[in-house]
Symmetry: C2
Subunit: 246 residues, 2 copies
Amino acid sequence: MFFLTPVLVAVVCILIVWIFKNGDGSSKRRKGEPRARAEVHPWVDEDLKDNTDLHQGEEDANDWQESEEDVEHIPFSHTRYPEKEMVKRSQEFYALLSKRRSVRFISNEQVPMEVIDNVIKTAGTAPSGAHTEPWTFVVVKDPDVKHKIREIIEEEEEINYLKRMGRQWVTDLKKLRTNWVKEYLDTAPVLILIFKQVHGVAASGKRKVHYYNEISVSIACGLLLAALQITKVYLEKVAFTSSLML
Amino acid sequence: MFFLTPVLVAVVCILIVWIFKNGDGSSKRRKGEPRARAEVHPWVDEDLKDNTDLHQGEEDANDWQESEEDVEHIPFSHTRYPEKEMVKRSQEFYALLSKRRSVRFISNEQVPMEVIDNVIKTAGTAPSGAHTEPWTFVVVKDPDVKHKIREIIEEEEEINYLKRMGRQWVTDLKKLRTNWVKEYLDTAPVLILIFKQVHGVAASGKRKVHYYNEISVSIACGLLLAALQITKVYLEKVAFTSSLML
């Protein structure tokens, strides 16, 4: 009676310390030139940290020149659907997406790799902070590698349950009947590991900030989920709780 | 020649300090009972912070009992498409999604509210940490409110450009020809503000942790973008850079 699902999506993040340079006053004013007001809202700074420590470091603005071609705005045109059609399409998409479930018993049925490629390409159409596209998708099919990943994830999950998350976490998850044993990581024919790139590397070898990397990668995950649901490749255990060092 | 888009999506986050209780050793071992290993990976803890400060506080486990009904696993069945059909659907969805653009000139054309309702409901189908659904969607149509929002966002954006983000940010964005002036916040007929709920409130009035709230909300944003693209309600400036206190 339990549900079968061939693909598992593990949202797996690797955190690398990244360098962030706070404004040093040398940045020039642009058009409009109003004065920056004094009251900076602290939660905006919090958001910007993007889950990582901010380290103020010295950077040379020339390191970033490479990306500074003079790109033109690209004209964009489209035809709208009639209103009725818009409503109909939005209803149908909602009906389809609302059938998505976080299933916990996963089939070993194979999925065409072309589908995996397409859903990952779809995820890659996501918007990202300053168009840094701070994501890496890794497709794993090898049983040994899958098993190693399972071991690492279970180890971290166990710590979540026993130590890291505390009593409320355990209570909240009780009704979901989950634990840290992730058998499906062996069962699923394909694992898609999703890494956030906390920073990139400039041609000079210096680190290049990826703004809002966690938000960007998570939006890409949303598109991935939609694509999987569209193809009815059911999917999926989105494992928020896992981190992995390859 | 410039592109017209009727709907603006502003990813707007409100940060509320939330209480996080670290495990105090009183959480019981569950099935399997392996010992937690000593080496906790620090980046996992970083991820868990979810962009906010962790405050260890005293909580009473009874506060969370309310959510502890005995929920059954729900049997799930589906029929798979034939492989060819799966590939075709994944290709078509990719083709459609790859046409999405972060447009910066937005039309004032109206959009049926039914469509707005449906795309938000679609976003709400996203998975979330411990199924906390830590999101609030606010639809704004009133011109005065839209303008106030614009003022707040521009103020923060200006600080981003001038102080907060530093020279690299300004350089990276140069090629995108963006600045902190967001005229489209007045122009768009509808703003969808998306808030992350950093914590919930239990019946007792105590704060209830929302695990992985930023990742969860951002995945929901991904589904929202997909839904808007499906309905060809073009959409959108996703403003990562804004925070708002209503």
